[in-house]
C-alpha cells in the first residue's frame, strides 16, 4: 500500500496547529500568572492516528493536543482550605481578644483596677479625717467613678459582643408598609400602616451578598369566582420597584419561597392573608400593601449565598461536561468560591462523578449531592462551625460574654460586701441610725450588672457625702472604725473567689491575657501552616513563568522545525513536479 504524497505535508500542518494551540495554552498561563484562583494548564500532546504503510508497519499522522490538563491536587487543596480556615479563625479570634484587652485597659493607670484602688484609698483618707466633708465627698466621687468605669467597660464589651454577633449573623429589619384600598368604583384610599405580611424572612440566594432593601408586595383582588385571591410578590428597592420572580399565590399562613432562583430568593413565613386586610375591606375591593425588608447580611448569609452559587456552577458544569465543553474556567470560579467558603467556616466537600461538588459544614449539609441547597441555620452555626472567621468571631463573642459574666459576679459581690460594711456604720446625715447602702445593683438592657450610687431611703436623690459611714458608733462623728473595716475589705483575702477584689480584677485581665497569648501563638502556627500549604498548592497549581518561557521557546522551535519540514517537503514536491515536462 502506498502512502499519500501529501501525508508528510499534513503531518507538518498538524505539528504547526498543535504548536499554535500549545503556545495558546502557554499564553493563557502567562496571562493568568497572577490570578490566584487560576490553576496552571498543560497542553498534552499526543500522536496522531496511525496509518498503515505496509501490513504491520504504520506511521502516525502527526501530532494533536489531546487534552489541556488543569494542574491541581485535590488533597493539597483540601489541606490548604482547612489550614486557611484555621488561620482565619485564630486571626479573627486574636483580633477580637485584643479588642477585649484594650477595653479592659490594663495594665494602666486609669483602668478598672485603678478605680477600685482609688475607691479604697478614699476610704483610707477618710479614716484619718472622718468628719471632713471633703474626704467624705471624695469617697462618693470615687464610688461614682468606679461605677462609671465599670459601666463603661461593660457597655463597650456589650457593644463589641453585639458587633461580633452582627458580623456572624447579621441583623435584619422588617417594616410593615401602608396599605391602599381600591373599592369597586375605583376610588383609592390609604388605610394606614398594616400588619406585617411576613415574618422570619430568610435570604436563600443572592447574586452578591448584598444588604439592599427588598420589598414584599401583598395584593388581594377579586377573582372570577367572586371570591378574593391573594398574591405576594418580591420586589427590589428601586423606584419604581422591579419585580423579582413571579407573584406567588397565597392560600393561607405558611412558608413560601419568593423571588427567582437566578436572582434573589427568599423564604418567608407569610401571615394568614385574611388578617392582613383592613376592616373596611369588602369583597370586590382591591387591597395592596408593600413591606420593606432589610436582609441580615453577615457571614452566615454570605456563606449561604456562596452555597447557592456553588449549586449554580454545579449545574453549569454538569451541562457543559455533558456537551463535552471545557469547564476549566467554571472550575476555577467554583474553586475560588470554595476558598472563600473555607475562609468563613469549616467546609468539607466531595466531588461527584458528574463534576458537581456537595458541601457540608460539620454534619450539616449545605449543598447536597442531589443539588439541594439547605441554608445553614443559626442553630447549625453554633453547633457545626468549628473553623474560619465565623468561628473566630463566635469565639470572640463568647469570650466577651465570659468577661462580662466575670465582671457581673465581681460587681455583685463587690457591691454586696461594700454595702454590708457601709450599713454597719453611721454617717453624719443621720448619725444616730445606721447608714443607707452606698451602691445599688441593677441590670442593663443586656442583663449585665451595673452599679450606681444608691438612693437615700425613700427618696430619688443619690446618697451624698453625709451618708458615708465612717463611724462605727452612733453619734460619734470622729470614730473611724467602720471606714477602717472598709479599708480592710481591700486586703480581705477571701473577699472574692478566694482572693482580694484586686486579685479578682487581675484574674479577669490575666485570663483574657492568657487566652489572647495562646490564640496569638496558635495564629502564628496556623499562619505558618497556611503559608506552607498554600506554597504546596501553588507549587502544583501555580504558574511558573520560567517554565512557561521555556515551553514558549520549545514550542516555537517545534513550530520552526515543522515549518522547515513543510518548506523542505515543498522543495521535494517542486522537484517532483518539475520532472513533469511542461
Amino acid at each position: 500500500m502506498g502512502t499519500s504524497t501529501f501525508l508528510t505535508l499534513n503531518i507538518g500542518v498538524s505539528a504547526i496547529e498543535a504548536m499554535t494551540q500549545a503556545e495558546s495554552v502557554v499564553g493563557n498561563n502567562i496571562a493568568n500568572a497572577n490570578n490566584t484562583s487560576y490553576a496552571q494548564e498543560t497542553a498534552v500532546l499526543g500522536e496522531g492516528l496511525p496509518y498503515e504503510i505496509t501490513p504491520g508497519t504504520s506511521i502516525s499522522q502527526g501530532v494533536d493536543v489531546t487534552s489541556v490538563n488543569r494542574d491541581t491536587d485535590s488533597f493539597l487543596i483540601q489541606q490548604d482550605r482547612a489550614n486557611q480556615g484555621a488561620y482565619q479563625m485564630y486571626s479573627t479570634h486574636s483580633s477580637g481578644l485584643s479588642e477585649i484587652e484594650s477595653i479592659l485597659n490594663e495594665p494602666s493607670s486609669n483602668g478598672l483596677q485603678n478605680s477600685l484602688d482609688q475607691f479604697f484609698s478614699a476610704w483610707q483618707t477618710l479614716t484619718s479625717s472622718s468628719s471632713d466633708p471633703a474626704a467624705r465627698q471624695t469617697v462618693i466621687s470615687q464610688a461614682q467613678t468606679l461605677a462609671q468605669t465599670f459601666e463603661g467597660a461593660t457597655t463597650q464589651l456589650e457593644q463589641l459582643q453585639a458587633n461580633l454577633n452582627n458580623v456572624v449573623y447579621g441583623s435584619s429589619s422588617y417594616t410593615p408598609g401602608t396599605g391602599e384600598l381600591t373599592d369597586v368604583s375605583g376610588t383609592t384610599s390609604s388605610t394606614g400602616t398594616g400588619n406585617a405580611i411576613a415574618s422570619d424572612v430568610e435570604v436563600l440566594n443572592s447574586p452578591q451578598s448584598s444588604t439592599d432593601n427588598l420589598h414584599i408586595l401583598f395584593t388581594a383582588s377579586p377573582n372570577s369566582s367572586g371570591t378574593t385571591s391573594y398574591t405576594v410578590q418580591l420586589e427590589d428597592s428601586e423606584d419604581p420597584p422591579q419585580a423579582i420572580g413571579p407573584a406567588v399565590p397565597v392560600t393561607g399562613a405558611g412558608t413560601y419561597q419568593l423571588g427567582s432562583s437566578s436572582g434573589v430568593l427568599v423564604s418567608a413565613q407569610i401571615a394568614d392573608p385574611s388578617t392582613l386586610l383592613p376592616s373596611s375591606y369588602t369583597t370586590g375591593d382591591t387591597y395592596t400593601q408593600t413591606d420593606a425588608v432589610t436582609p441580615p447580611g453577615g457571614e452566615l448569609q454570605e456563606l449561604n449565598g456562596y452555597a447557592y452559587q456553588v449549586e449554580q456552577l454545579n449545574q453549569q458544569i454538569k451541562t457543559e461536561q455533558s456537551l463535552n465543553q471545557s469547564v476549566d474556567p467554571l472550575l476555577d470560579q467554583r474553586d475560588q468560591i470554595l476558598d472563600s467558603m473555607a475562609n468563613l467556616a469549616n467546609i468539607s466537600y466531595t466531588t461527584q462523578s458528574d463534576g458537581s461538588v456537595s458541601v457540608q459544614v460539620g454534619n450539616a449539609s449545605l449543598v447536597s449531592s442531589s443539588g439541594v441547597v439547605t441554608p445553614l441555620s443559626e442553630a447549625d452555626v453554633a453547633s457545626q462551625v468549628t473553623s474560619g472567621t465565623m468561628k473566630g468571631n463566635l469565639d470572640s463573642s463568647s469570650d466577651t460574654g465570659t468577661v462580662l459574666g466575670q465582671l457581673n459576679s465581681f460587681l455583685q459581690q463587690f457591691a454586696q460586701s461594700v454595702n454590708a460594711i457601709q450599713q454597719q456604720g453611721y454617717g453624719t446625715n443621720n448619725p444616730s441610725s445606721k447608714a443607707p447602702p452606698l451602691f445599688s445593683v441593677s441590670t442593663d438592657a443586656d442583663g449585665n450588672t451595673v452599679l450606681s450610687l444608691a438612693d437615700e431611703p425613700g427618696t430619688s436623690t443619690p446618697v451624698d457625702a453625709g451618708d458615708v459611714a465612717a463611724s462605727g458608733e452612733p453619734n460619734q462623728p470622729g470614730d473611724n472604725s467602720n471606714a477602717q473595716a472598709m479599708v480592710a475589705l481591700q486586703t480581705d483575702a477571701s473577699a472574692y473567689q478566694n482572693g482580694t477584689f484586686d486579685q479578682g480584677i487581675a484574674q479577669v485581665v490575666s485570663s483574657v491575657g492568657v487566652e489572647a497569648s495562646a490564640v496569638s501563638s496558635s495564629e502564628e502556627t496556623a499562619n505558618a501552616l497556611a503559608q506552607q500549604s498554600s506554597s504546596m498548592r501553588d507549587s502544583v497549581s501555580g504558574v511558573d513563568t520560567n517554565q512557561q518561557a521555556a515551553l514558549l521557546v520549545q514550542y516555537q522551535n517545534s513550530y520552526d522545525a515543522a515549518a522547515k519540514l513543510i518548506s523542505v517537503y515543498d522543495t521535494m514536491l517542486q522537484s517532483l513536479i518539475s520532472m513533469v515536462p511542461s
Binding site: 460619734q476 470622729g478 489572647a516
Partner: protein
Amino acid sequence: MRVTQNMLTQQFLYNLSNINQQISQDQEEMSTGKALNEPSDNPLAVSQDMAIQATLSQTTAYQSTINTALSWMQNSSTSVQSIISSLQSIQDNVNEALNATSSSPAQLQSLADVTQQLVDQINNDADTQQGSQYLFGGTQVTTAPTSMPPGVLVNQSAFDDAGVGTGTGGVTQSSGTSTIVSSLSDPDQLLQSGQSYSLVFDASSIGSDGSIQSGTITLEAAGVTVASATIPSGTALGASITLQAVSGSGTMQLSLGDMFEVSPSAKSGMSYQQTDTITPTNGFASDINFQVSKDVNVPVNLTAAQMFRTVPTSGTSDLQSTLTQTVSDLKTMATDLQSSNSQGDQGDLTNLQSDLSNLTANLNQVIDMNAELGSRIQSVTAIQTQMSQYSNTLTDQQNNLVNANMAQVITKFSTDQTVYEAALQMGAQVLLPTLVSYLPSS
C-alpha cells in the same frame, strides 16, 4: 518541589510581614519604655504587676494616713506641752502663795487672777482644733472638749458627777467631789449613749468600822429603775458590787468610791445617802485609731476626758477639779487676808498645800501622757520610714516587671533592622528576573 514566582513572592511577603511584626513590637517597647503593653504580652507578669499596683496604691494611702497621724500627734504634743508649762506656772503661783504669807492681799489676788488666766489658757489648749476637728475630744471631734458632760471619767465608759451626800450619826461626805463609783464595767451596755442616769446610793446602816451593814444601790434613767443591787453586809468602800438589770439578764459591775468618812467619835444609827449623775462618755474618752500599715492600728489622739477627768493613781483629785479648787482656794486666801482672818489663813494654807500635792500628781499624769504620745510618734515615724522604703522596693519591682530592657530591645531592633533590609535587598534581587528577560529578542 516546583517553585513558582508567585510562591517566591508570597514567601517573601510572609517573611517581610513577620519581620515587620517584630519591628512593630520593638517599636512599641522602645517608644513606651514598657515591655508589658497588653495582658497577652505576658499574662503572669501582668497579674503580678496589677498585684504590685494594688499594694503600691495601698502603700501610698498608708503614707498619707501616716502623715495625717503624725501631724495630729505633733499638734497634740504641742498643745500638751503648752498645758504642761501652764501647769508648772500654776505650781509656781501656788508655791509663791504658800511661801509669802506676809504678802499683801492685792498680791495674792493678782496671783489668783494670773492662775485663773492660766486655767483659761489650759482650757484653750484643750480645745485645740486640727482642721475642723477637736484634737482632744475623743471621737466627738465636733464638740469642744471643755463642754463635755461633767464628772470624773470612770473606766472610759462613763462620767460620774458627784452629787451632795447626806449622812447621819457622824458620817460625812469625804469631799464635795467624791463619787459613788471609782470604776465601772458595763459589758451588757446598760448605759445608752445620749442618755443621762442617776445612781442612787443608800447605805441605811453603817457599822462602827465604816463597813456597810445594809443598803441598796440603784441605777435610774429619768426616774425609771434600770438596774439595782442590794449591798451585802460587811461591804467596805472600794468593794465591787454587781448590779442586775431590771429587764433581761444584763449586769453591770462597779467599785465603790471613797464617798464617806466616819468621824472618830462615831455613834450608832449611822447611815449615808448620795445620788450621782452618770453620763456615758459617748466617745469623749475613745481612741481614734489610724491604720498606718496592714493590721497596725495606732491611736493618734489624747483625750481631754483622760487628761482632765481622771483621778491620777497617786492623787486624790482629777485635774479639772484641782484647777477649779486651786483658783478658788487662792481667791479665798486673798479674801481672808484682806479681812485678816488668821483662822482662815491657817486653813487656806492647808488647802493650798493639798492643792499643790494634787497639782503635782496631775502634772505628772499629763507629762506621762505626753511621754506616751511621744513614743507613739516615734513608732509611727519608724513605720513611715519603713513604708517609704517598701514603696521604693515595690516601685523597683514593678519597673523590673514592666519596663523594657532598653539595651536588649535596641540590640534586637538593630538585628531586626538588618534582617529587614537584607530581606528587602534580597526581594529586589530575586523577584525581578525570569527567563523571559534573557530570551533572544528576535
